[in-house]
Structure formats: structure tokens, C-alpha cells
Amino acid sequence: MTFDEIYKTYWSKVFRICMGYVNDHDWAKDIAQETFVTIWQQLPKFRHESAVGTWIFRIASNNCLRQIERQNRMPKSEMPEQIEEVIEHDIEPAVKFLYQCIAELPETDRLIISLELEDIKQAEIAKIVGLSETNTRVKIYRIKERLAKKFEHYEH
């Protein structure tokens, strides 16, 4: 796969994972770009030891975690309401609510559920975050349960 093909195939997936982590359009775009910068740099060294998808999502996840270093920026869910994003994207309220709920989870849970919603196999998710498969399965189950509960309140 050439870089062009990777870029076209994975841009939206990587963007959504970053969005799940920070819930801020511009910030997510920045992280997604940084991810592709790393991919561009590392692609010649990629040795196909893992599937290219797993490799890409691993870089994306680690780039998300790197945001901890940027303490001056906080996830949107933690910001006061008056400084909500100025450019409002036309997003369905339920979609917005889902991303908001995800952004409120602990950091690694945000990554795990984002990867799961991106249809990545649980065994791969386990490898990406560095947990056992059983643990990953349990975690995904619990996160989904938590999200379902939040949605129950949201709908009523």
C-alpha cells in the first residue's frame, strides 16, 4: 500500500478515533495530521509484522495519548459552555451526545471504545493498547453498558 492509498483509506477512520478522544473538531484534525506525519516518516521502515491497519491505529492511539503533554488544552467536555466551538458543524444531536459521552471516559477507555466502534477486532485492540484479550473484552462490555445507561437518560 502506498502512502497515498493509506491516506485516502484511513483518514476518516483516524479522524474519528481522535475525535472520540478529544471531542473537538480542530484538535482532532491536528492529531490526525500528526498521525499521518508519523506514518509518512515510518512507512519505509514498516515491516508488515502486523496488519497495516493495526499499525496505523497504534500510531493514532499513541498520538492521542501524547496530548496529555499539552496540558493547556482540555477535552471539550471539561470546558465551560460559553467557549463552545465557534464553527458549529451540522451534527445530529445523538451523534454529538455519543462523542461527548466518550470524551468523558478515562483516556484509555476512550481509545478502546473508539477502536471498537471503528470495527477493529478485539484481539487487535488488545494488541494496540497492551492489554490481554479477556481484559479488553470485559472493558468493552463495561464501556458499552455505561454508554447505554447514559443514552437511557438522554432519551427520556
Binding site: 500528526e34 515510518q42 495519548l65 497492551g130 492489554l131
Partner: protein, 194 residues
């Protein structure tokens, strides 16, 4: 509730132009390298200058030679530890899992903290002692009052830097790095097997 369907409805901006991305990649790399190069040039330049001066000025006193050696040792030892961080900063292994990656970040921050505390003290101690010894030969050629004033002024400046400037800067940086290490450890703790 079909979370996957909702998840995929998130609008995604058009993919940015690939050329912009590559330009950005090069810029990021340059920026990271610049700081390292400046630090190395600055310290190595000073070391070269001091050695050059030492070679051409007639130093019959041992204190002068020892002073120069101490200053050079101080600068070089700081530089050695500083440069040992380079591979860490540039080695982002995409095959690392999040757990390993977080551990790596924590190691880098700890090394930073070490550089900011222990190494800066070593550097400063060597530099001040070196300077004080170096000056003896030249001060003996001055009058008593001149020499004393000179040493007092240098002493005041070193004390100011050592007791005021350095602790102030160190506190600020240590708090920042300490907070970050704590934060990284909390996140890494989320990945403990249950």
C-alpha cells in the same frame, strides 16, 4: 442503541492536501532538531573558546588551569547527559502498545527531571568553582580593593543566580514535569490488568 451507526455519522472534513502534510512533517522534524543543535553549538563553542584562551594566555598558575578544566568538565558533563536523551526523543516506535508508549513517555519525563535538578546543580557547581579558581591569577595583579570588589561582585552574581534565579526556574519546571508524570501514571494505571 446502534452506537456504530451513530459513530460513523460524525462529519469528517475533507482530507487535507498531501503536500501540506509532507511540508508539515519536515517542519516538525526541523524544529525538534534545532533546539538540540543550538544547545550543542552554544556549549561546545564556549568550551572551544575557553580552551583556545587557555592555550594562548600565559597561565603559570595551577589554579587557573584547574579552574578552566572544572568549567569544561561542567559543560561537557551536562552536554553528555543532555545528548543521551536524543535517541529517546526521536525514537517513536510505532510497534509499541499504548502501555509501552506511556512507559516510554514517563521515562523521558523522568530524565528531563534529572537533567533539571541533579545535572543543573553539577553544572553550576563546576562552573562557579572553576570561575573562582580561574580568576585568582588575574585578581592578584589588581590592587587589594580592586580585587576584593571584583570577587565580591562575582560572588554576588553567582549567589543571585544560585539562590534566586535557579530555584525559581527549577520550581516552575519541576512542578510542570511532576504534574505531567503524575498524569501519565494515572493514565497508565488505567491499563492495569484486572
Amino acid at each position: 442503541m446502534d452506537f456504530k451507526a451513530l459513530w460513523n455519522k460524525q462529519p469528517v472534513d475533507a482530507t487535507p492536501d498531501i503536500k501540506d502534510l509532507v511540508a508539515k512533517a519536515k517542519k516538525v522534524k526541523r524544529h525538534a532538531a534545532r533546539k538540540l543543535i543550538i544547545m550543542n553549538l552554544l556549549l561546545l563553542g564556549t568550551v572551544t573558546f575557553i580552551s583556545y584562551v587557555n592555550f594562548y594566555i600565559d597561565n603559570e598558575w595551577h589554579s587557573t588551569k584547574i579552574g578552566i578544566a572544572l568549567m569544561i568538565i561542567g559543560m561537557l558533563s551536562y552536554l553528555v547527559v543532555y545528548n543521551r536523551m536524543i535517541p529517546l526523543l526521536f525514537k517513536t516506535d510505532p510497534n509499541d502498545s499504548s502501555h509501552d508508549y506511556l512507559n516510554q513517555l514517563i521515562t523521558i519525563k523522568r530524565k528531563h527531571a534529572f537533567l533539571d535538578t541533579v545535572m543543573i546543580n553539577v553544572y553550576f557547581a563546576f562552573l562557579s568553582t572553576g570561575l573562582a579558581l580561574y580568576m585568582i591569577q588575574f585578581v592578584t595583579r589588581m590592587t587589594t580593593i580592586g580585587g576584593t570588589t571584583f570577587y565580591v561582585l562575582i560572588g554576588v552574581w553567582i549567589a543571585f543566580a544560585w539562590f534566586y534565579l535557579k530555584p525559581r526556574e527549577a520550581r516552575r519546571r519541576q512542578k510542570r514535569i511532576g504534574d505531567m508524570i503524575a498524569r501519565l501514571e494515572v493514565v497508565n494505571g488505567q491499563l492495569k490488568e484486572e
